[in-house]
């Protein structure tokens, strides 16, 4: 086997050539990230003098110390993001996997109807304004933690992936045997479906967790209460405010404008917030990589 593989390998020269190109591509991807990390460790004086640089004249922990000192809003937002990401993902997995189990049961009378019912939501949507109207005017979800959790609980695409996963990894005969043994559907779900679809759940869970952690839009649209602003929305607001003041020179030149600018986080502090908002997700990823790549293959199985 090994010999055959070697037989079909590209020559050493080509291998070096391709490796070098691929390493250059990976540098292109990773260097901008590294720049942000370096800026977060650059002293404010160095930024004023030389701008952003990979080799700043002076390193400093000032940005992070600054965060630790004045960062009650940041810590608060961190907590909000962790809370709704975990609770939302857990509830979502629970509800979607129950539904996927039902959709995988050939004996269920309206299985086909419900599959189409789910699929349609992937093809057609009411869009932003009707959803906004519903959430704000009729459900009164704005400025509550629920708006960050409820609307995204059931993702049709994820339901279809989970259903396909259950269909292909759990044989029908297992369900039939359980029913003959007198198991209820609840028991089948908890004792057979959940344990046997761990890989599928881990994949969908990772997708959901990343999407929730990174969601800044919902917060921007619905949340005003500082106690409930998610981390990514906070970052968005900080960036937006600074740019707004800088671009509008008239405001920036007034005494109030200058005061406002001074009270804003420094550039390095902004980059420090960016780093602490990113690190958890980048660190979690390698642990999930196995499931993630497996999930890509499950996802490619047609619904």
């Amino acid at each position: 086997m090994a010999a055959e593989r070697n037989f079909n390998q590209i020559s050493c020269g080509w291998n070096v050539f391709i490796s070098v190109i691929m390493i250059l591509v990976s540098l292109l991807i990773v260097l901008p990230l590294i720049l942000v990390v370096i800026i977060s460790f650059t002293s404010p004086e160095s930024i004023v003098a030389n701008g952003y640089s990979f080799f700043p004249s002076e390193f400093s922990l000032a940005a992070y110390k600054n965060l630790a000192k004045t960062g009650t809003q940041i810590i608060n937002s961190y907590k909000v993001t962790i809370f709704y990401s975990l609770v939302g993902t857990f509830l979502s997995l629970f509800i979607m996997s129950m539904f996927a189990y039902v959709l995988a049961q050939k004996r269920f009378p309206i299985r086909r109807f419900l599959t189409i019912y789910t699929f349609i939501t992937m093809l057609f949507s009411g869009g932003l304004v009707p959803s906004y109207m519903l959430n704000v005017r009729y459900l009164h979800l704005d400025d509550t933690i629920w708006v960050l959790i409820l609307p995204g609980l059931v993702n049709a695409f994820h339901v279809i992936i989970l259903r396909t996963f259950i269909q292909t990894s759990i044989p029908d005969s297992l369900f039939e045997a359980a029913i003959i043994d007198g198991a209820t559907d609840y028991a089948i779900y908890f004792k057979i479906v959940l344990p046997l679809s761990k890989a599928g759940l881990a994949t969908i869970g990772l997708f959901g967790l990343v999407a929730r952690w990174n969601n800044w839009f919902t917060g921007m649209l619905y949340i005003d209460n500082p106690k409930l602003v998610p981390l990514q929305t906070l970052l968005q607001k900080i960036q937006r405010n600074i740019e707004f003041i800088k671009m509008n020179a008239e405001i920036a030149d007034t005494a109030g404008g200058l005061e406002l600018l001074r009270s804003m986080p420094t550039e390095s502090t902004r980059m420090a917030i960016t780093v602490i908002a990113t690190v958890p997700i980048l660190f979690a990823y390698p642990f999930f990589q196995r499931y993630f790549i497996k999930g890509l293959t499950i996802g490619s199985v047609k619904g």
Binding site: I10, P32, M98, L128, L134
Partner: protein, 312 residues
């Protein structure tokens, strides 16, 4: 009598008695889909109303097609449609080409450790939110401190006020989109390449086929299924822009609207700053309907060419 027996027939078919547990287990998801996906669809009637958020859907007046007339009477509708479609077409084709190329090259590397490491790096930007990406881009493009301007000045050129100059943005947006998405796609393709049986390649080697020929006659045909699925999904979404990319990466700079405004940012602005919710809904309905038709057409085309690869 007739009606009664029909109802009884339906009840019998639904068989609540036997399957009541399955109905209960499915209920939460069915309800959530109904509330958060189906009710907003009915809400699209707002596109035909002089919508006032405070009055709500039942209090607002119907004005037939006025919102659409207003939307299509300006050049806005044309500009946002052109931007949305042309960016998406470039994104889809460029990323597909680069991702397939990357995945084939990754698969040829002798060192599996290097390949794994590269794969991990390539996919990293996929996990970053657009807010984070916008700050990364800002660190490169900021007028005073940005890395690119520092570089230009060091080379003796003038500073560029990037966030005020529309002409650069088509390239910047394409670059950012590729930077963020190409690695993820490459890994999808790599996963399917690794599923291709070695036997095909062994036969090819015995027949004396070069690496290029192997890629053309074995690898690419095997990727056809996954490529066409990704294509259908993305062609269906050609009318839907990545809101974050077009809103937050250009810092919502008004000077850039001619080249950065897409349907999604237009809807958002109509709702939040222009306070024209009726027209925003009209634009949304226009987007949904054209998008839906595009999905149907692209699926039809694929089912003509290779029926086994159609999604539905």
């Amino acid at each position: 009598m007739q009606k009664h027996s029909k109802a009884a027939h339906i009840m019998k078919r639904l068989n609540f008695k036997k399957h009541h547990a399955l109905y209960i287990i499915a209920l939460p998801a069915v309800l959530l889909l109904f509330v958060f996906s189906y009710i907003p669809m009915f809400g699209l009637v707002m596109a035909f109303q002089d919508l006032n958020i405070a009055k709500g859907i039942f209090g607002s007046e119907f004005i037939s097609l006025k919102n659409f007339e207003f939307l299509f009477s300006t050049t806005d509708a044309w500009v946002i449609t052109r931007n949305t479609v042309s960016y998406n077409v470039i994104f889809i084709l460029l990323n597909m080409f680069l991702a397939v190329l990357l995945s084939i090259l990754l698969n040829e590397l002798h060192s599996k450790i290097l390949a794994k490491t590269l794969q991990t790096i390539f996919i990293m930007p996929h996990f970053l939110s657009m807010t984070i990406v916008s700050i990364i881009v800002f660190s490169l493009l900021s007028v005073n401190s940005g890395y690119l301007n520092r570089l230009l000045m060091a080379l003796g050129y003038d500073k560029v006020n990037w966030y005020m100059e529309p002409k650069y943005w088509p390239f910047i947006l394409v670059a950012v989109n590729t930077w963020k998405g190409v690695g993820y796609q490459a890994v999808v393709y790599l996963a399917s390449i690794s599923n291709i049986s070695d036997e095909y390649y062994e036969v090819a080697v015995i027949e004396g086929a070069s690496k290029l020929k192997q890629a053309w006659y074995i690898t690419l045909p095997h990727l056809k299924a996954i490529i066409s699925i990704m294509l259908i999904l993305s062609v269906g979404g050609i009318f839907r822009a990545d809101f974050g990319l077009f809103y937050t990466v250009p810092q919502d700079s008004g000077a850039l609207y001619p080249v950065t405004d897409v349907i999604d940012t237009y809807i958002y602005r109509s709702l939040t700053t222009l306070n024209n919710a009726g027209m925003a809904t009209a634009a949304g309905l226009y987007q949904s309907i054209v998008g839906f038709i595009l999905v149907l057409i692209s699926n039809k085309v694929v089912s003509r060419i290779s029926p086994e690869n159609a999604v539905f």
